[in-house]
């Protein structure tokens, strides 16, 4: 299993559009991908799940992936966070 701590860097936080980006990216991989916020875990492949976290600006999230392409998945999703989901 691979995991990585991520910080939400866009001002608006993870609203519908970033959540859709995350879910679409996660769906490209076979690995089981989850995101944890505090003690709340959601499936990264589901838009509603990711939105439900209500992760605001500067929230720290723990991204976990398990499967054959887990490292590539973590890489691709953390790039989205680094690029502020192409916002701001």
């Amino acid at each position: 299993m691979t995991e990585k701590l991520l910080t939400v860097k866009n001002r608006a936080g993870i609203h519908a559009r970033p959540a859709a980006l995350i879910a679409q990216t996660a769906n490209k991989f076979a690995a089981e991908i989850t995101i944890e916020k505090d003690d709340f875990t959601v499936n990264a492949k589901s838009i509603m799940g990711v939105i439900t976290m209500a992760a605001g600006y500067n929230t720290t999230l723990n991204l976990k992936a398990e499967g054959s392409d887990e490292e590539a998945a973590i890489q691709a999703i953390s790039e989205l966070f680094d690029n502020k989901f192409e916002e701001d």
Partner: protein, 331 residues
Amino acid sequence: MDMADKSFTVLDLLNLDLKGHNSLNLKCISGRSGLSRKINIPDVNRPGLALSGFYDAFAPQRVQLFGRGEDAYLLKIVAEKNLENIRKFFTYAIPCCVFTHSLLPPDEFTALAEDSECPVLMTDLESTEFSSRLLRAFSNIFALRKSMHGVFVEVYGLGILILGHSGVGKSETALELIERGHRLVADDVVEIRCVNGNTLLGQGPNKMISHHMEIRGLGIINIQQLYGVGAIREQKQVQLVVKLEEWDSQKVYDRLGTDEITMDLLGVKIPLLEIPVKPGRNIPIILETAAMNERLKSMGYFSAQEFNQNVLKWIESNEAQANYYSDDDIY
């Protein structure tokens, strides 16, 4: 993941938005600065003995409940200028004091509470009623919790939790069920908690964005607006778990249904069905039938076993007949 250890403060208790016969009607009358105190023990204590000076086996970590008796005693010792026991009372790490019957504590008591930053709350309820409501609220708050990826629907009154990988068709199945008059409880993230050690309750994690669904190709839809308030439910007991999975030709699926498989959720055993999905299989109808079948079982009628009993009886009677006729042949 268990969330039972999530800290619960006195402020959270004040902010509990409970309705009607569950409402606690609390307000803070003193010791506001201590509202961040944590409630770790979900129980109440009547501090009568402590106030009279007997502190053996005193349970300071519980919510301290002051009814008519305690309040009258407070008035008496304050009139006698005997504040020693009250001072001692506040040296303990008490989460908060609650006065019932809208009783106001004497000013000396409030001042000491203020000094030790211990919140004092008041309610207009009677002591017994308040403690039973509080304990009921506590059993919900301190229940074991777990959030699961799935869709939770009510079908013919039965709470069905649909699990399965992303993209297997959970949401589409639920949508068809809603269309057929059943109800959505939560889509995607279902928060499950165990109450009384034997009942599982499921609901969406957030009231503000619950009852929305994401359907591939359509986007996010609001079920309450589309299908009306009759198509949704806030919470429901989890009574059946259905696992949807891609049809695997190598795997052996249950063809008889005579054995009951269960799934362990927070220590409670829930009947489990594994249903293979492939194009052309009408999953919503299968779930409707499963719900009715499960209800029959709970009424004592077990289709698969009953069927097998009948088969056995039939075989027996055939054998008896065969024996009879073969016996006949002898004569």
